[in-house]
Every structure is written in structure tokens, then in C-alpha cells.
Symmetry: D2
Subunit: 343 residues, 4 copies
């Protein structure tokens, strides 16, 4: 019997409305490279959400591609990007950032978040070091929301990062691979217009939030917009049939499908979290997002692993491990119920 999978949030295809729109638009003839009417419409919907008319919206296929393209576009050769040690760009992109020539300046973080003071200390520490020219210059800040650990920034925290970046004169870039889930989390107080106001660049994740694939990069800071499409093309991220990304994001943002899809994922995650808590399980991180990190005994882990697929995260002690369960727009409630029953 096939296991029920909670291993990640890209296990299924796409929300059925997405597929339906691809079929409906299939024989339309469109210019390539995201210069079509659907991309334009999607851009408009996104800009309306952002309440930032001078922003640019670009569509890319995947997250690593987006991160490496953005960072390559923003930094000069001697600069690096500040990231939490657990940041995706630091640990899970096979050195894509370094392959662009840039060091990831990794800072410690117990929960996956960076603070404004960490940024200040890193940048000002660099500038007053007498050997500063012999060291990589901090050139931008990378954060993700939700983080790799499921934690989420509050508006106050993101404002503090913005303030720190302003003080230091470096841009703030936010990876929103799972932004849809953050938008639907009960405690969330960061909306798309906040991201657009507080970040120099950020991307709205599609792949993990109900689309076949696709990420929408918003370049809020006009000073960083020039010639971005050249770099997009050079890094292999300019999709020939760009309309595919346009159609999907258009559908996602024309009437709230993005939140509808992700909202379901969050409901499933919170039900799962509550179920574990009710049974007395502890968690690695206090996540309000679609990734939950309960701590299991080795015995329980082995038992659950016979019927469910989920990820090892880190060892807690000799007998216990932290694991990760992901939900998504596609998670069946029956799957969560079955899991909780097996606890």
C-alpha cells in the first residue's frame, strides 16, 4: 500500500482551476518570454495587491533560480548576502549563490529568523574592521517568510530589518516560496502591501502554493530594476512559453484563489499541530505555518514511517528526533485524520 505523503508541499500537481485555465487558453497565440496578455494581467493583479505602481513584476520557474538571479543582479563582485545559517540560499541550493560569485554571510539563528541588530552588527562590524577590504562586503540581506523552520516574521520584526537595511544602505530581499501560507496563518500581520513597502525585492511563491510551477518576483526598488530581464535570460530563467506563468498567476490573484488554496493548507497544518499537542508531543519550533516539526521517539517515528512519509529534521537526543510534516493546498483532511488517529 502506498504511503500517505507529508514529505513536502510540492507532492501534487496544481489546483484544478489552474489546470482548467491552461486548457481554456491553450490555443491562444502569445508572444514568448512573458510579454503576453496573461502575464500583463497577472502583473496588474499583483501590483494592485502591492499598492506599489512603480514596482516591476517578473515571472520565474523556481525558487533557487529566483534567488540566484536576484542576488546576481543586485550584488557587485566583492559583495555577499547576509542570511540566517539555515537560509535556503546557504544550505539547500548546491552553492548556487557561490556559483554566481558571491559568499553567503551566514549568521546564527535558533529559529530561522534574522534580527535587525544582527544585520547592523554584521555591516558595521565589517566597516570598522581594519582589514575590511580583505573581507567580503555585506551587500544585501536575504530572509524568507515563512522561514525554513516554519516560523514567521511579525510586522514589527520586518520593520526592524527594514530600518537596519536603511541604516546600512543595503537592500532587503525576501524569499516568499511559502508566502501564501504565511498570508493565511492566524497570527499573521504582514500583507502583500507590507512586503512591497518593507522589502526592496521579494518573491511570491507559486510552486508550493498551488501552481504547477512559478514564482513572481516583485522588484519594489526602482534602482534595482534596470536590465533585470537580461539577467533573467542569462541565468536560464526566462521561460519561452511565459504565458504559462502568466495564466497561473492571473488565476491565482484575480479573485483570491491564492489565499483559498493556501488557507486549506494552513487549516490542515493547524489541525495536525493541535493533534500532536493534544497527545503531549513537543515541537522543535513553534510554527504557525504549513510546516510542523513535532518531536518523536525513535520508536514512534519508525511506527509512523510505515504508513506515512515525512522528513527527518534533526536529532534531539539519543532517543528522540525532530521531524517535519508538510501540508499544502492539496492535503486531504482524511490523511490528517488518519495520521492523528495513529498517534
Amino acid at each position: 500500500m502506498e504511503k500517505i505523503k507529508f514529505g513536502c508541499d510540492y507532492l501534487e500537481g496544481a489546483h484544478p482551476r489552474i489546470l482548467q485555465r491552461l486548457i481554456e487558453t491553450n490555443y491562444e497565440q502569445h508572444e514568448g518570454y512573458s510579454e503576453d496578455a496573461h502575464c500583463d494581467a497577472a502583473r496588474q493583479y499583483i501590483l494592485q495587491r502591492c499598492k506599489k505602481e512603480d514596482a516591476q513584476v517578473h515571472f520565474l520557474v523556481g525558487g533557487t533560480q529566483t534567488n540566484m538571479t536576484v542576488i546576481a543582479a543586485v550584488l557587485r563582485p566583492h559583495q555577499g548576502v547576509i542570511s540566517a545559517h539555515t537560509g535556503h540560499v546557504n544550505v539547500h541550493e548546491t552553492g548556487a549563490i557561490e556559483a554566481q560569485g558571491h559568499k553567503v554571510l551566514a549568521l546564527p539563528s535558533p529559529d530561522g529568523k534574522l534580527t535587525g541588530d544582527q544585520v547592523r552588527e554584521c555591516v558595521w562590524g565589517h566597516r570598522k574592521d581594519e582589514n575590511f577590504e580583505h573581507m567580503v562586503q555585506p551587500g544585501m540581506v536575504y530572509v524568507s517568510n515563512p522561514t525554513e523552520n516554519g516560523t514567521m516574521y511579525t510586522k514589527a520584526e520586518l520593520q526592524d530589518l527594514r530600518a537596519a537595511c536603511d541604516e546600512c544602505g543595503i537592500p532587503l530581499y525576501l524569499d516568499g516560496a511559502r508566502m501564501g501560507y504565511a498570508l493565511c496563518a492566524p497570527d499573521n500581520d504582514l500583507w502583500m502591501e507590507d512586503y512591497a513597502r518593507l522589502c526592496d525585492l521579494f518573491y511570491i511563491g507559486g510552486t508550493k502554493c498551488g501552481m504547477l510551477m512559478g514564482e513572481a518576483l516583485v522588484i519594489c526598488n526602482p534602482a534595482l530594476q534596470k536590465d533585470f530581464r537580461y539577467i533573467l535570460k542569462q541565468k536560464g530563467g526566462m521561460l519561452a512559453k511565459g504565458r504559462l506563468l502568466g495564466v497561473q498567476f492571473e488565476e491565482m490573484f484575480k479573485d483570491g484563489l491564492y489565499e483559498e488554496a493556501c488557507g486549506h493548507g494552513i487549516q490542515m497544518a493547524l489541525k495536525l499541530k493541535q493533534g500532536f499537542a493534544d497527545k503531549g508531543y513537543d515541537f522543535l519550533f513553534d510554527s504557525g505555518s504549513n510546516q510542523q516539526f513535532p518531536i518523536l521517539t525513535e520508536e514512534k517515528r519508525a511506527e509512523l514511517a510505515e504508513k506515512y512519509d515525512f522528513a527527518f529534521w534533526e536529532r534531539v537526543d539519543e532517543n528522540r528526533v525532530g521531524v517535519r510534516f508538510c501540508t499544502s493546498w492539496a492535503t486531504k483532511e482524511s490523511a490528517v485524520d488518519a495520521l492523528l488517529a495513529d498517534l
Copy 2:
């Protein structure tokens, strides 16, 4: 009124059978990163065609991405890739190859093809130059079939390139972005097993041949297979929902859909070609592929441009220009008929 478009071969979405399969498989839960059953099935179909069991098949999203990833994986830092001056890697990838650190060693070619002797001369010329260490070392050969000019290699020509590469000890890489059309062209004598036998690496184009997106890279030479997936990830080419590529290529190759789709494109191209020829038009190149390059007077070009979309290619003389008409799996015969009637 909207123009009828012959501007490129990625104007529409995908063959309806492709979309149908995406819907049927939508709720299946699959591992990410092309480690799913559909990718495996697609690999098997492709390997059977290739009659090469020790080949590796990898799925990528687009052509520039595939070219840059392959070249980065194959070359050492001091090596460059030999290409026709008109090669896609030389002129239409915004320097993606150079961004990987490698020079494109561009050789002249009137028709877009390279010859074995050009390769021999380039490599042996380099080796006997007394300043060889001060120059980029030719490290591999890039060709495309059909070429950017719609011309196609014969088996004898590709065998000669293979022989040249063997003599020089460098690998041969073939870009098959439009391979499907070559396979269906009347004069073709190169089949997939020939590509697999004669090339060290080649890719089978999906984007321009009826799929939403996707290219299937075949690494025939085992010496070049090691750790390729790391590099695929690093360059942003490892699709999270790899199953999308698997499902599409599986459908394309399980019963001949690839040739069915591209065969239509070739029929339309040849009808268009014949129509131009019947009216006495000359052509820039003698193309048997899905790209046709008739020469028009400026007057005719302007007249046709009111109803049809097609690409400027190059100026022939003061009054005449060469243009490009592309057909594809999706071209309507009525569109071709209308065009020919307007000649």
C-alpha cells in the same frame, strides 16, 4: 483583428493529450526533483529509442538552461566550446555560457552547420600554437539540429563531426530544441539511436515540439554523467515538481506522439515552402525543417505584416529582406492557406 502568428514555434500551450495527462495525474503524490515514477517511465521510453542502456536522462525546463548546465558540467575552467557563429549559445543566450566562465569559440558557417574539418582545424591549430597556454583551449563541440537556419545535418555529416571529436579527444554535444521536426523531415536520415551513438550528450526538445515546457538531456558518455544532478540543481534547473516533465515526456514517447505532433508542423512548413516556391520566391537557406526563410521585397513584407506575424532575419539587399516563418504542432492549415492565398 488579431494577426495570424508565424513568429516562432512556442506560440501555443501544449498538445491536448499532454494537458489531459496532467489532469489525470494531478492528485498523484510524487517525490520531487524528477525522482518519480513518471520521470522513470519517460526515461525508459527515451532510452529504448536511444538503444543505449548506459545513458542517463535528465529533465530540464528550457534550452538556455540546458545548454549552460551541460557546458558548465563538461568543461574545465580554461576550456571553451566550439560553435557555429550563428549557434544559439553564441548569439541568443545573453552570454549564459560566458556567465559560466567559458568562451564560445565561434567559427564561421554560411548555413549554420559545422564540419568535422572545422573542428579539426580549430583544435589542432590551437595545440600547435606556441602560445597555446595563453589561449582558450577548445574543450567540446556544440551543434544544433536542425540549426538556427533550419538546415539539417545528414548522418554522414554528423559521423564526420563524431570522427573529428574522437580524433581531437573532445566531446560532441547536440542541441535538439527542434529535434522533433528534424525527425519528421522528408530527407532526414538521423534517428534517435544515431544521436545517441554519435553524440556524447544531446537534448530532445519539448518546449518547441508540443509540450508546455521541458527538454530531455541524454548523457550518452558515462564519463560525463558523474554528479550531473548536483550541477542541475546549482544552475536552477531542477524542477521541484519534476513529475510535470516526466508526465509530458512519458506521453510524448509512449506511442509516438512526439512524431505525430512534429509531423504536422513539418507538413505545414513544407506546404508553406512549396507555396512560396511556386510563386517564385527565393529562400535564404534551403530548409526542410519547420522554419522557412523566404526572401521578400520590402513592399511584400509590409503587406504581409498587416495580417501575419513573422520574424525579420537579415537584409539581402536594399530592397529585399530574408524573413522567417515558423510552423509547429499547433499551426492551423487554414492559417497557411490564408498566407499562401495572400502571396
Copy 3:
């Protein structure tokens, strides 16, 4: 018997005054990385020559290093550098520019020089191409004076290049590896203040002009000066004992040693040129610089090669080849006399 060498202009060590100063300053204790008093003094001498107080002067060890560091510092990722096809960056640096991620946009040139109109055509042609984002954007211009062919720019020609760069909004960089010889050539009308006024960046060659090693880069355009020392360090070009470069350039420019040394090289070159001309030899290029390119029969070439070392340049016809004789600050007049006697 050892051959007399005319193979290049870096056959000997350094002008004896240079060595003398190294000895005199040997036990002085100086900060590293060119932050010492000798570097400062050398910078002042150079800036005085340039009549440009807001220029920056940096010291590097060699020419390839200087070229790759400058180009890496100036260009954004999607940009390339315009160069004559024969330019050093295009053919004799083992792809150092591409290794920085940038394409060399090579333009044809019979004599090694670029014209303003070539630059205009390249840049404006790019900008109006409908696929411009799919092609490398011309981002700067590289020229050398004297060129690889010994030819030299006139002031009018360099002014035209400057005007073209201004019209296009891209910087002009001049490689002066052999600038000392240009300064001493009879027909020269370009002085250091002209370079400083007409170029955004240029370097004054030391290695080929009487120093042990070293090139002095002048960044005239303040917009290109920011953080250059970081990049210098990153590319391996920041010499620990920077004082060595400072002492040498200080000696070269404090009282005209640079011109004294190179002036001798030019006298020897012109004597050699006249000698060949008197015997009826033709030349590949009309060089007024320290490189001379007579055309020899194969027979004569073989005969001379028994006693003299010189470089093959290019085949002229079945029986004749163009060769290169280099003179320098160290060429003995007796060597030139012996050669001419053997003609």
C-alpha cells in the same frame, strides 16, 4: 652560441635605477597592500602627469590581471566588453574575461584599432534589435595603445572613441601595457593628460617598459572608483609588499625615467624598421612603436632564426610570413646592428 633575442619586450630584468632604489629602500618598514609612502609618492607623480586630481591610482602586478579586474569591476553580469578581434583580452588571456562572466564582443579590425563608428554601430545595433534582451549588452570599450599590431591611435581617433562612448553612455578603458613606447614614438600626439581626459580608466604599463613588474591603473571616472580595492584583492591582484610597485613607479615618474627607458626602445625599433625598409622589405603593419612586423621569405626567416629569436605572426602567402621583432629599454644597439648586417 646563444641567440640574440627580439622575441618580446620582457626579456630582461629592470632598468638599473629601479634595482638601485629597491636596494636603497629594502630595510624600510612599510605597511602592505600599497598603503605605503612610496605608493603614495608614485600616485602623486602620476596624478600630476594626468592633471586629474580626482582620479584614483591603483598598482597591479600584470596586464591580464589588470584587464580582468577592471572589466569585472565595471560591468554588470549581462554586459560584455567591445574589443578589436585582435585585442589582448580576446585572444591572449586564456579566457580571463569570460572567466569573470563576460563575453568579449569582438569587432573586426585590420590594424588592431577600433573606430568610434564601430562602437556606435555595435551599441545602437544592439539597442534596436528586437531580441536585445537575449543578447549580451555592450557595456564598455577596450582598446590598447599601442595596439597588438604596433599601430597607434591619434588624438583625433581617441577623441572620436570618447565621443562614441559618451553618445552610448558606456565607459572607455585603455590598456597601456606599452604606453611608454607610444609616448616616445615620433608621431605620437597623445600624452598622459589626454589619456586621463579621454578615458574612463587606463593603465600605464610597467612590465614591458623597464620595471620588474607592475601596472598602474588610473580610474579617471569617479563613478567607477567605489570599492575597487576590494575587487583588486578578490582577483589576487593586491600585492602584499605593495611598496615594490610604489618604489618602481616612483622612480619611473619622478624625473622622466619612464620616457628615457622607452625612448631607447623606440630608437632601436625605428633603426630596425629603417634597416628592413632600406633592404626593400615590406611590413604587415605600419608600426611606429617598439614592435616591428617585417615580411620575410621562408628562406630568410630560417636563416635569421639561426642567430636571432623573433616571433612568427601570420602567414602572408605560400612563401612569405610576417614576423615580429620587439625592442625595449634594454635592447643593445649592437644587437640591432648585427641583425641588420645579416639582412
Copy 4:
């Protein structure tokens, strides 16, 4: 009055015998690019020391340049280099390694040394991680001896690193910028033939050990030798007047000048160390090398700083800092005596 400088070990020019030889050989005519008789002689002396006839010796100008060139030559794109967190490649090369496209995999180290077990854990941990393809693959090990902290490997420790590298199948590279001082340290049990036997590549530092500039890279592993000179040229490290490096290393190794020069530096360092210890000072690290790291009160530091130049290293507590005093081949005993008197 000028301060007495202990700030680094490249404060002065070169050992007088080095300068003398440059003068004696100045007018010899030599091929460029280290293909001359002096480089050949120097190579022979070094190979004799190494007792390894199939090794290759290359001459470079500086340490950062050597490190980045070696690492670029050895690694494939998806690989990184393991280093102590304090390693020069990780902290003091302005991202030169990342600029080559490679991540530095930094491991913690209290004393600047790596252990075999750290290497084993890093490599085997990577290989058994289920997401290994999403992470940088450890591809080589970088160590320096003496380390940045003045500590030195014992033969047993280096043998263990060698064993670990053999088990993991990755090369070991040793940065010997200050190797001369290690060779002269009282407790040293590692000789050049040990380095040659235990490392795949290592370099013998010249810049900090009595030469004007220059590092001699020994590539012991024949599998890593192919085409190295191409890469040397591409990275800007091939000195035109390579004879300068040849003459210096020839002089250093023909009769023991290297050890004579560095032996003096060690004597001065140990005298300084003993002097501090006698006065009851503690040290940050137990260094037997030419770098000494006493711990001073802020008051003492300020007092000494009026007459002496030395480097801040790290804060120990609110009132005390660790500092660095460097000696070298050129340190005057009177300077050490003066310093000790002022304690």
C-alpha cells in the same frame, strides 16, 4: 619618531642575497612565463627537497592568487573546499574562492587546525544526507601550516588528515605561506618531503619568508597537474618576467637560504615569546611560529602602541585583548630587546 613595526611579516623588501642575484642576472635574456633556466633550476632544487620526481612546480606571485587558482583548478562546479573557519580562504581573501564559484565549507576550530575526523564527518555526513544533491559537495581540504593562529600541525596530525582524505577520496591542499617558519620551529617534525608525500598540492611561501614576492606551488598528485598553466594564465597569475620568481627561489633553495632567513625570524619570535612569558603574560594560542599572540590589558596595549606597531586579534574580556606580534627574516634583535624592556 617612527614606530617599530611588528604588524606583519612583509614589512621589509627581501633578503640581500635575493636582491644581489636579481642584479647579477638582470641583463640575461630569458623567455617569459617561467620557462627560463632560473625557474628550471629552482624547480630542480625544490623537487630534490620534495623527493618526488613526478611533482610539478609552478611559480605564482601571491597567496590569495595561489589559493584561488589551485581551488579553481581542482574542483568541479558543485564542489566546495573544506577549511577551518579561521582559514585564510574563508576570511581574508574578499571572497576570492566564491568568485571562482565555490563555497568554503567552514568548520569550527579553536586553534586554526582541522582534524581528520572533522573531514570524515563532513564528507560522510554529506554523502548520507538524503538531500545531498541540494548541498555543496565537499571536494577538497584546505589547511595552512603554520595556521593563521601560529599553531602547527604535527606529522601525526597531517598523516591523519591524509588518511581521512584518502578514505573520502578528496585531495588535500596545504597553504604554506609561512612554511619557512614552520620548518625552523623547534618542535617541527614535518619536512618538505613530508608535505610532498602527504599533500596532493601545497605551496612554499616566499613573500613572507624573505623574498620580494612569490609562492612555489607543488602539485604532487599527477592527476591534478594537467593543463594547470592554462588556469594559471587565466587567473592572472602567470608573471611575464617569470625569471624573477625563478631567480629568487633558486637562491632560496640552492644552499639553505630559506631556512637561514626564516630561522632568524623564529629565534626572534621565541625570544619575544619567552620575554612575555617571563613577565607573566598569557597567550591566546600556544604558537611556536613567527606569530605570537600575547594577551594584554587595555592599558598595556595602549602604552605599547605608542612605540610599537602590532595587530589587534580578538577581545578576551572587558579589560584584556589578544594581540599579534610578527617577526620575520628581517626583524632586528634590538627591536625585540626594546619591546621586552618596555614590558
